[in-house]
């Protein structure tokens, strides 16, 4: 009976965040089937450790497990993705580099944005997804990605710079 209660509580508290879990896994693995496997595994792991969950933000708790599951998998399956150095000199965009009107006046192609996000190194993609799609605070992101607050901020800054660079380049190409 206690097992039954645990399951009921789990379904009420954790399963509402399934979309968030899948979205994060889908962006980290960039593949539907792998993302489903990751979420499946993470949810069972979460269920197993659910008695250790003492309130707090259940979405952050689940996303932390999803993130760790994905990283373990990335380390085993796509180690090279975790070791791509992010060469700042190549991606740093000066203020003067950007045409101010480009992002305003031209329609931004959705597919371009999706591609630009997928091109980001996984550590940068992760903070962008958590911030822009999950709308989590720096503190929550720092808990999930296990990085200091300052790193959350600098990764977001670099990720956005790189996205802008990508979009600007690709708009110029279209012309």
């Amino acid at each position: 009976m206690r097992e039954h209660d645990k399951r009921l509580r789990f379904e009420q508290i954790i399963l509402p965040h399934l979309d968030a879990a899948y979205n994060l896994a889908r962006w980290l693995t960039r593949n539907d089937q792998d993302a489903q496997d990751m979420v499946q595994e993470a949810c069972l792991r979460a269920f197993r450790f659910f008695s250790g969950f003492r309130g707090g933000d259940s979405r952050v708790w689940l996303l932390t497990i999803v993130r760790n599951t994905c990283y373990t998998w990335l380390q085993q399956q796509r180690r090279e993705e975790l070791t791509i150095p992010f060469q700042e000199e190549l991606h740093d965009v000066g203020v003067e580099d950007l045409n101010p009107e480009v992002l305003y006046l031209r329609r931004i192609n959705q597919q371009n944005i999706r591609n630009a996000m997928e091109e980001l190194p996984v550590e940068y993609r992760e903070v962008m997804i958590l911030r822009e799609l999950e709308e989590l605070s720096y503190r929550e992101i720092s808990a999930i990605a296990q990085i200091p607050l300052g790193t959350v901020m600098s990764r977001l800054a670099r990720a956005r710079q790189r996205l802008q660079r990508y979009l600007t380049d690709h708009m110029n190409e279209e012309e």
Partner: protein
Amino acid sequence: MDCTETQRLLHAYLDAELDMTDTLEVEQHIQKCPACLQTYNNYQALRTAIKTSSLYFQAPEKLRKSIGSSVRKANTTVFISQVTSWRGLSIAAALILAMFLSLWAFTHVWPTSVASNPLPQEVLASHVRSLMANHLVDVPSSDQHTVKPWFNGKLDFSPSVVDLARQGFPLLGGRLDYLDNQPVAAVVYAHRKHIINLFIWPSTQNMGGERDTTTLQGYHLIHWTKSGMTYWAVSDLNLNELQQFVQLVQASS
């Protein structure tokens, strides 16, 4: 506030993460600096574009159903067979082999002085197991005020949890463990890519401020006592840095 400072804080401003003072200063600067305003507007446009691009992936209905049913069936044994692919199984097999090998090493290879005192082995085994079993922390948090209260009601003592992030040893969280025939607190810290397990439990042993250092299988273990508690720090970190960690813990607990 100048341009450099504004550019540095711009993303936190964009994300509404600045305190009131910084927010006002960034706002004031942006109002009179066209270049920074332009940068800000560009990032704002980027955000809008991201938010309106339907980038969010909804969980497929199939996944929702299969999780519901596997949770229903889940107990500790079916758990393994349900999620583990062949790929996973081979890793599990390798881990089990490694576990047997280390068990064999525990009983056959290690010096008798260590073998006659099983506690360091036990501590090391707990450390290694915590890295293997995807169960490093029960409460993942870098906030000592989250981790420390988490142990309330789970242990009959309150372990010291300190924040050493600024000194390069960020807190990863806490875990319950079982050592020396009793439940103990495991507080987990990181240093670069290395994990440190700090085990804490009450004991009557008093080492009078001395530290005992042991090296087993390339892992370093440092043991000391303080105010009726016994402490074991274990990591694959080099001995100097682990000693530095221990000094920091001793100084702040």
